[in-house]
Symmetry: D3
Subunit: 245 residues, 6 copies
């Protein structure tokens, strides 16, 4: 059940029976020569929409631009400053809380967002803590690529050629969502170098085609289909555990 | 050509021949009993994707949450504070400028965003003006519902029952994008009351079902198809005029 | 009744019978070769003081610096960043609200302020909307130059040579307020070019003497006197309508 | 020479021979039973206009709202948050610097502004210091009521009944500027209590009629005339010393 | 070599041979019934001072207040909002960069700081990335309690009774630094409960004496001495690796 | 009684009998050729710890980085922007207030902090004033170097060679706290020049070795011991007066 495709009376009816919502959050940034710029937003959105459909969970609009300053050396990458993303999250959470949502589950697709989202959670809870009142909100950040089934499947499919950016897993999953965008490609070297992340100039110098440690030449729509199923199951399980408290 | 569905080499190739980009911007807010919460984001996105496809124009991810504090009395509405949206726009524009985009065309679907987007433009240009350097950027805000063809067609179809919020035009257009979401409905009164906008409590008191001055009972997928064509033509014409300077 | 020239017991007495106040808001920016830098602040202040005197309405101090980044190519122009003006308006409104003022009428003299003032209104109302309480405030932005009588008189006096910046109307009105500053002057070309506004460098390139579409050579103290009377009547009528709800 | 009453070519001509400007800064706040709410803005403005006229110094628009949170217990008092005033000062200084002004002399009328203005100066200079470049700006804050001649005259006229808020000196000076606003009044007690300042509730409890340590019953237009002369001379002397470096 | 206890000529001499600096960062928050409120600041400071002494590394002043909103239910806990800490880190880094420091090593003592510090790093690097220039800075966040030797020793000494807040390891280390503050104590239950962290009210309800999963009854000065040695060695090794690139 | 070296039950016990706390606040900045970079933090911390010990007053962690942009021309100096320090003070005060502290006494060691701390006090009190509620807090800023006994002793010891930055008094006091850091030194000229402060480049040009008006060659551990005693007595006296109201 997508919020964007619902009417307010439908949301009102949903709130009469539930206080939880999934908010996909991603990034718009380069994902190597054959990965989509929207990969990190498409993945959590794709899983959240499927899970929401299957289990009748409301899914908020995807926050599709994240903290990706280190990718700005590659055309098409967009970033928010961390303080901007904190402000966005404060507003989105306050809006949802206004309507009675209490259990906010952020499904994330981008490692670079994790720190800022957790900082935002502390900022949000901190208002209550400083005021000496109890926060009515429960906030959870989950990364789809760290789900139990997804991790197992990813290891099975790609082993240590998964890498950490522009991975065959995430690229496969986007191709499952958008099969017409699948761009099988041979890479040289097959597996990209690894290393730490700093600013955009440093990133481009270390990782000249954008990949980190990955072999996206292994990506396929078929793998994407399996990852999709694994991801949806991970999400439904973890969301249920979250609601159960 | 959607940025999210492109690879960075494709964006690089695009930038070799063009410096323009369309950024759809909308809102997530109630649109009356049978209008989708995502209406104001869906409309500009739908038009931008079609126009981008037709003419090879790059379309950035939709900024789907806007300034909608006055709708918070209705479940599902989300808002950014104006200062938050200004920060978001500063970051998105700075990211695009970093890559060499020069002509940024924001296609807007929500009247409540106009003031804040224009304030953001002044904030962005002002950095250059205060520094005493020329801004390399050209920024334009266009509202799809004010296009020449769209206005004419809207008048033809709905006359003075168009209204100003949850209009049959915008609802028809979303139904063209998502026909399975079409919810024909009879309204009482057929045409909603009109008036000024302040805060959320005041809004809900004045406009109890969320509509302002409109008769969304007139919406139809067929009307949406015609509005879509008119809107795409308006957009392509205005975008070309913008690029021409 | 000017707030600056009142004592607090006088304001207390005023509040016992009224909850409305007029806040003139303008700009400090070039107004062409013979227009005063303070034009956009002088005009609403002049009208507000006269109307306040005539009808016993309290007039707050003029906010004389606005959003004018595009004029910074001309010596003497000052600007606030839009986010700064929003903060100023938040504070001024909060201060007035603290005393029991409820109906705040901003009389504006500068088109470049409109977007930011409206964004500030959304920011202010939004605090209440997000908190789920009703805003006690009514906020209105009116532009003196768009008043019914002023527009009619302006058309009668200057027709299509009125233009949009450094207009003969506004310059005449400032000369009525400060007759010793009247600088009749012949212009070449008589009517300035028109066009869109971006940053300061672009503005100076397009509009080399600062005017946009106007013929301030037509300005006169006599015209100013008539515009003053029209403007005061427009203001009193619109303010009464605002109070009436 | 008032900036508001000049044209941009006049400012351009001024900048060809000078880089200094006086910026009056005050407050809008209660000044006891017979003092004007605008006292702290009127005083520096009155002196700056006279000095500017006498010596051909450019005077910027008065910043008439300052940091006056402690006066909010009295109707009509307005405040900016200190962070807001810092932002305003950053923008005004940046605007002036843009045009080539280098020596910015702030003439202040309100003790409560001093800390924030000095903090703003540190914020402004700090940008250059952190960037490792030399600041082109010279910034000075002067309080008219601390001028040598003014202090001597004040002591002569009112001795220890001058006090520190709603003083007979400042009230006399405003009456010299606005003789029609003179409200001679007998006070009981003649001299108000003294003490420290915290928030608004505390202020009103300690100083029930708004005065601190003062006897404004002694104020007169005649005293104002003498204080005006003393203040203008102080200002011209100090401004010249400032320019001389 | 502590920055606070150096003169500027000594720092200048240091910069002639090195560009690295250690910045201890901690928190001021409850650490259970017998743990010091300053534990998270004392630990990294203690290790950094020892390592700095041993190897001639400059150590900046400890940032002793961190993000600890969840501890505010216990007297004495202090917090910064995440956005405040980001601003502090921006300023400290900019100051150090101004002098030519290039390799900034933050030694952290508080898990709750990690997200915000990493967000700050993205904010700082992002300025360069958005400007299209290379960042001259290398930034590293290391947590002393995750060092290889410390972890091994901690497991050896306390096994699974180490827990995650108010651990016997950190308490032992503070007692090594301040032996007169050692407060051996028996706990009931010996090992505290575990769980997730949200706001302060929730924290106090779940963890009534402040501990999470730990058995600080096991803490001792002797253990602290061994942890100190392990921590210093970890730090020197990791710092050398950081400098080596 | 140092907060950092207390447990939360000890703070709880303290709050049962007291609502006051001392917060040392200083700066990290050059103090001439033989003064410690940490001088302005060490001095108030040293006095506060001694006074706290003597009289059982709680002492919060030292805020050791202040507003010192003008010292950035000398290696090792650190600064916060004034707006950053205001945010820090808002958070620290809010945290202390949350626990029931009501009387917050800031003992300052750096003249450059005074304006910003006072601005922060207005910002903090202003929240209550704007909300129309009474502030529960009492805030005081005291500068140790302006204490009655300290001033008298300083005059006795150093007369007019005390100066205003890198003074023999403050350097002596730091040497009393850290006798191993005493660096007696002969200066040429013995007494440094004096003048006003602007940005860092200007400062270094005017005051080439960092001192202003002082003769730190006169500093000694013995003088520091006497100043320490005077400072502690000043502090205890003033703190008691503050509590007494």
């Amino acid at each position: 059940m997508r919020l964007s495709l619902s009417t307010w009376p439908q949301v009102e009816a949903y709130l009469a029976r539930a206080t939880g919502v999934i908010v996909p959050i991603g990034s718009t940034e380069q994902h190597g020569p054959n990965g989509l710029v929207g990969t990190d937003a498409i993945c959590p959105e794709h899983l959240a929409w499927s899970a929401g459909e299957r289990a009748g969970i409301l899914v908020a609009p995807t926050l599709s631009i994240g903290v990706a300053q280190h990718h700005l050396g590659f055309p098409g990458s967009l970033t928010l400053r961390p303080t901007t993303l904190i402000a966005v999250l404060e507003d989105v959470v306050a809006s949802l809380a206004r309507h009675g949502f209490r259990d906010l589950y952020f499904l994330n697709g981008h490692g670079g967002n994790v720190a800022t989202v957790q900082a935002a959670f502390a900022q949000i809870h901190g208002r209550y803590s400083l005021a000496g009142t109890a926060s009515p909100l429960r906030l959870r950040l989950a990364n789809w690529y760290l789900g139990r089934r997804v991790q197992a499947l990813s290891r099975e499919l790609f082993g240590d050629r998964e890498g950490s950016h522009a991975t065959p897993s995430e690229i496969s999953l986007t191709w499952h969502a958008h099969p017409d965008r699948a761009q099988p490609m041979a890479f040289d070297p097959e597996v990209a170098p690894t290393g730490a992340i700093a600013d955009a100039a440093d990133y481009r110098a270390r990782f000249p085609d954008g990949r980190i440690g990955s072999a996206p030449g292994l990506a396929s729509v078929a793998a994407g289909a399996r990852l999709h199923e694994a991801g949806v199951e991970d999400l439904l399980e973890d969301y249920a555990a979250f609601l159960a408290g």
